[in-house]
């Protein structure tokens, strides 16, 4: 199995080269592997029908617990029929659909095959992570395939919406998988389904998150709007990805997990509500579309809602209906898409208002299209009818109120489906008064055959209903069957489901006949039911927030940046200091009276710096602060420290002076208003006050004895024969530090000297040196 999946990806990598020789026949080469997969699935059919499975597992990244685990069972088998079966048809169709010399052929063929591989992996995956990986790969392939030539803004928007919505859903699903896996203690899907984790808040959360992924992928309300938007893709791509296979991934996931979770609280109510809502809205919107392809897309949305309900319900008969509808939908929808593709290809339009008289020109094509559309509408003896009958029967069986409500929804939805199916037939093939007959060349056989094959199968499986019975029954096995298990058949006698079917068809015909009146509604929906504005508002809201925050905090203003850092400093460590710290018990205002004037001097200078208008004044005032600190050192009996401080200050001042000679004498910033300064004042005062308070708190908080200084004092007489401990430290204990400091000073002095020389050399201010000047002085201060 893994070999098959890998082979797809390898072939996809080779196809661009192949297509250089073979042109569009590369699609045919690409069709080989899906054909092989289909053949392999058919050979495994008997084993799977007997209840067996095929397992395969390869360790990938054991550290992360990543294993590729694949497993073929009945559900996978059904999906492979769609993925590989439709894949073969589509790829053959592509050979005749695309222009022989189109540049995009190599890309499209490679992506289609890669997508087929990813999808095959997805339906075979038996490990949550494996599933997720293939899930996202299909998203990426879909995006790249849709992005053929979207040149209008609308197309760009819809394609990004498609990607965004599905990626968002995928990520939430990943989270759900992780939560579920942690709950269950395993990431193997088969094991989780066999022994599901106990119901609880966490499990429910996980399920909701997983459903979110499934709903976005399968275009359920309110995420459905991406699917009609994705119809900008070439028709074969739409037929494959957005009708037959990829959008079924969500349905598949629900079908996969339903045996374990259909009785968990959020699972079924959520699926039923959104599924039916989707079915109704999709069907309703399809009644107004003038573009045949978009009409089909809304039809797909509607049918996906239907399938969701069938797959999530968790009863035997409904599950059989689900399996039947899954295949039936794949068959008739691919037929219809391919037919639309042919019409578009030959007639150059797919607008209902422009097409006319196709039926007379292409009788064979009309028959094929009619089979597809009537199967969609649920007309016997076609395959779609079987599925719908089974669904009605399934929800009638139990007779509970909930099921009956669901049934009513399904009947309404089916009526809408019937209506738009007729509308499709009329729109595509009908002759409209006042419209010229479309002139179109005959389509080639290569286009007709891929469309005819699924139509033929639709007819065959419908007429010989028992053919599919075994598959559907095997699929429904996990759910307990009643005493008289349901079986697929065209004729169950005069029964309520048959009556409902008749009602559905009749109202569908009625709706279609009244189309002029219906169309006047114009697809109107109350605002709160529309999903698109919601999406747009979310995106616009994010943008607004982003602009507002960027404008306020990221305007390139250094003071703002600094303020953010300082505020964080005030709030986080500051709150720790204020709540946890205690002031020292004994506080003296000063040790000696001389400290007072010095302190006042320093404070005045510090405040004055912020008000200085001339650069030189500011520098000198900063110097005053520095010298003041030096004075404190003298007063506290540290003359050596004071000396160093004075030296550094002087050097800095000199450096500044030389730099300032090349700058304008006043600060260039204009102070137009006084008010905006207050926040800055507040922030700096708060930060300064906090530093002051913490200095007090910390000095009181220290408990450990000052080992270092005591150690030095002890060691000085013996170790260095010194009476002055400061001397001993400078020249003995920390001699290397002293050397280092001296060299730093020397380097700084060299810098100053070079500045002096540089001033002589050039009169013009040079940008490079302006920035280097202050930096050097900064380094000195450190």
């Amino acid at each position: 199995m893994l070999l098959l999946v890998t082979a797809h990806l390898v072939l996809a990598a080779l196809l661009p080269t192949v297509s250089r020789w073979l042109g569009r026949w590369a699609f045919a080469v690409g069709a080989i592997l899906p054909a092989v997969s289909l053949g392999w699935a058919l050979t495994s059919l008997t084993e799977v029908l007997a209840g067996g499975t095929v397992d395969e597992s390869v360790a990938w990244a054991p550290v992360l617990g990543l294993t590729f685990t694949l497993r073929l069972d009945i559900l996978s088998l059904l999906m492979i029929f769609l993925v590989s079966g439709v894949g073969v048809l589509i790829l053959c169709y592509c050979v005749y659909y695309f222009k022989p010399d189109a540049q995009s052929n190599s890309r499209t063929s490679a992506l289609l095959v890669a997508f087929a591989g990813a999808m095959l992996g997805l339906v075979l995956a038996d490990d949550l992570f494996t599933l997720y990986i293939f899930w996202e790969l299909t998203t990426v392939c879909s995006f790249l395939l849709v992005g053929q030539d979207g040149n209008t803004k609308q197309q760009r928007r819809s394609s990004i919406q498609a990607l965004l919505v599905t990626v968002l859903g995928g990520l939430s699903m990943l989270l759900g998988f992780v939560l579920l896996g942690e709950q269950a203690g395993t990431y193997r899907i088969s094991e989780i389904v066999a022994s599901p984790p106990a119901a609880g808040a966490l499990t429910s959360t996980a399920l909701v998150l997983i459903l979110l992924g499934a709903f976005t992928k399968s275009a359920q309300v309110p995420f459905h709007t991406w699917l009609p938007g994705a119809m900008v893709a070439p028709t074969p791509v739409s037929a494959y990805l957005h009708a037959a296979s990829m959008v079924k991934a969500g349905v598949y996931l629900v079908a996969r997990l339903s045996p374990a979770f259909s009785d968990h609280t959020p699972w079924w109510p959520l699926i039923a509500t959104l599924g039916i809502w989707t079915m109704l809205i999709g069907g309703y919107r399809a009644l107004f579309e003038r573009d045949l392809k978009t009409l089909l897309a809304y039809g797909t949305v509607s049918q996906l809602g239907f399938l969701m309900v069938l797959m999530g319900a968790g009863s035997h008969t409904v599950a059989m209906a689900g399996a039947t509808m899954l295949i039936a939908h794949g068959l008739f929808k691919s037929t219809l898409f391919l037919v639309v593709g042919i019409i578009d290809h030959q007639a150059g339009t797919r607008n209902i208002d422009e097409l006319s008289g196709i039926r007379r020109r292409f009788p064979v094509l009309t028959v094929i299209g009619a089979i597809g559309a009537l199967s969609m509408a649920g007309i016997p003896p076609l395959f779609g009818f079987l599925g719908k009958e089974a669904a009605f029967e399934g929800f009638l069986e139990s007779g509970t109120t909930g099921d009956l409500v669901v049934l009513v929804g399904l009947v309404l939805g089916s009526a809408l489906t019937a209506a738009y199916s007729f509308r499709f037939l009329w729109g595509a093939f009908g002759t409209k008064p006042g419209v010229e007959d479309s002139s179109a060349p005959k389509p080639s056989l290569g286009l007709m055959v891929p469309a005819a094959v699924p139509a033929a199968l639709t007819l065959l499986l419908g007429v010989v209903a028992s053919l599919f019975n075994a598959l559907a029954t095997t699929y429904a096995e996990p759910y307990p069957a009643g005493d008289h298990p349901y079986y697929l058949a065209l004729w169950h006698g005069f029964s309520l489901p048959l009556l409902l079917s008749a009602v559905v068809v009749a109202s569908g015909v009625g709706l279609h006949l009244a189309r002029d009146r219906v169309v006047r509604l114009g697809g109107w929906l109350p605002d709160f039911l529309q999903a698109q504005p919601g999406y747009e508002r979310t995106v616009a809201g994010l943008d607004t927030v982003s602009y507002a925050v960027t404008g306020r905090f990221q305007a390139g203003s250094l003071p703002t940046y600094l303020a953010i850092i300082l505020l964080t400093f005030v709030l986080v460590p500051g709150s720790a200091v204020l709540t946890g710290g205690s002031m020292p018990e004994e506080l003296r205002l000063w040790d000696s009276a001389v400290q007072v004037p010095v302190a006042i001097l320093v404070l005045t200078a510090a405040i004055a710096v912020t008000m200085a208008k001339r650069r030189m004044t500011a520098v000198i005032l900063t110097g005053v602060v520095g010298y003041g600190i030096g004075a404190f050192f003298v007063l506290d009996g540290g003359p050596d420290l004071a000396l160093a401080q004075f030296l550094v200050e002087t050097l800095t001042l000199v450096a500044f002076v030389f730099v300032l000679r090349r700058l304008p004498s006043r600060f260039t910033q204009v102070e137009s208003t006084r008010s905006p300064r207050w926040p800055k004042v507040a922030v700096s005062v708060a930060a300064g006050a906090l530093v002051a308070v913490s200095a007090l708190v910390f000095s009181g908080a220290r408990q450990a004895p000052p080992e270092a200084s005591e150690g030095f004092v002890e060691a000085a007489p013996e170790g260095a024969h010194a009476n002055n401990v400061v001397n001993a430290i400078l020249v003995d204990f920390r001699a290397f530090d002293t050397v280092g400091e001296i060299s730093v000073l020397a380097v700084a002095a060299t810098g100053v000297a070079s500045l002096i020389l540089a001033t002589r050399r050039a009169r013009r201010p040079s940008a490079a040196e302006e920035t280097e000047g202050p930096r050097k002085s900064r380094e000195v201060r450190k």
Binding site: L64, F698, F712, S766, A768, E779
Partner: protein, 528 residues
Amino acid sequence: MFQATLGSQDVAQSAVNIPEIDWQAISPVVVVFVAACLSVLVEAFLPRERRWSVQVTLSLLTVVVAGLALGLYVNSDAVVGTGGITVAGQAVPLFSADYPALFLWGTLLALSFGALLLIADRSVDGGAFASPVPPAPGGDPVQYQAPGRQTEVFPLALFALGGMMVFLAANDLLTMFVALEVLSLPLYLMCGLARRRRLISQESAVKYFLLGAFSSAFFLYGLALLYGYAGSVRLVDIAAATAGTDRPETLLYAGFGLLVVGLLFKASIGPFHAWTPDVYQGAPTPVTAFMAACTKVAAFGAILRVLTLAFEASSWEWRGVLWAVAIVSMLIGAVLGLTQTDMKRMIAYSSIAHAGFLLVGAIAMTEDGLSGTMFYLLAYGFTTLAAFGIITLVRDGNGEATHLSQWAGLAKRSPLVAVTFAFLLLALAGIPMTSGFMGKLAVFSAAIADGMAPLVVVALLASAIAAFFYLRVIVLMYFSEPAQDGPTVSVPGAFTTAAITLGVVVTLLLGVLPAFALDWASVGGFVS
């Protein structure tokens, strides 16, 4: 202050202790520093026209030799993982070549090899770096064609690299601080060296320097407070002090807070990220690549080390704060990235968001968290390196065309560049089969295993928002009509091609076969 803090041990033992040096273990660092000094000499004594080739050869060779030394040590018979510089009588080296350090050294060397390739490339438009010669009088100081080439960037880069290697291996806060400065000062300078758009480049250098100086001061202040708390600057001693004593907690919390501010600043984690977009945008793109890839590795290496070795016991007290920081960072990066119109700024915001993701792994405090974060660093570094490499290629008449609108329709003009860039963006968004996915998976699963599910929810939300702006670029490249006078894509020189290829191959390789790197990342933890 230095004299006082350093003194205690050796004075107390009253004998000169010569630290035990495991030369083989630290040989990569030694190689880098020796080469950096050589490189300065080359700059001083070689004639101008020969410097470039010698500097390029020397610096690339240095990284290769250091990498070989690292490989030799890891594969040697010696007991790997305990070496370093050990002060006698201490169990834990002062400067430790333990497994995480070795892994991150390897990462750093590989990344800086790529970054140096980008720096060295001058085939496009003569390279990104300015000559120090000022413009002629009357010339345009903002943009001018300088004669000669800037080669000062090579010794600076080597010093920065050496500083980073020491920074993430330092087991005491003072060594760490010195390394912090050794790595920062060259970076400040390198930011201002752009040949084009000089004013914005220099503005970025000044901003980075001023804010960086502030954060260094915070780091130092925190260090002092922690010394006051524990009586030592060694991480293990701080850990011992935090484990059940009646010391005043105020000093610990305030010290921790200040220390962490310094570290978070270097890792450009919100709300200390403010410099990142301006600096990433202003600095020459190869330097931005170097910073984005290597500085992040170094800063997170240090964060992991400090948190694990010194503050594990007190983790319950600070975890809430770092949760908040991680959330802020992820949201800031993701939401603000949405409206960016400049490619480099956009990747800067993405790096802020990624820093948040990394922090999620770093505060998990488990072995999986450690290895996951290190793997993420490796993966992210290569992806972002290659992304910046591609940005250097898309140019118009005024140098790099970094405005988003200029990238419209790039796929039509240059499919290969577009597909490569799209792949890298998908990796940044964390799509499967890229290293980005594996990194996120590793980090997030470690975080969930450690009971941080709510944080992971926010992280996934942020990933989804961030995915929006990556995907928007892809859409722009593939779906739009190219602008009439849009930028041209330069044919990359051999160096840039090599760097981008390296980045892309690693991104793909780690996405498809992550096992070997993950295994290596989880060989062992910090020695304590």
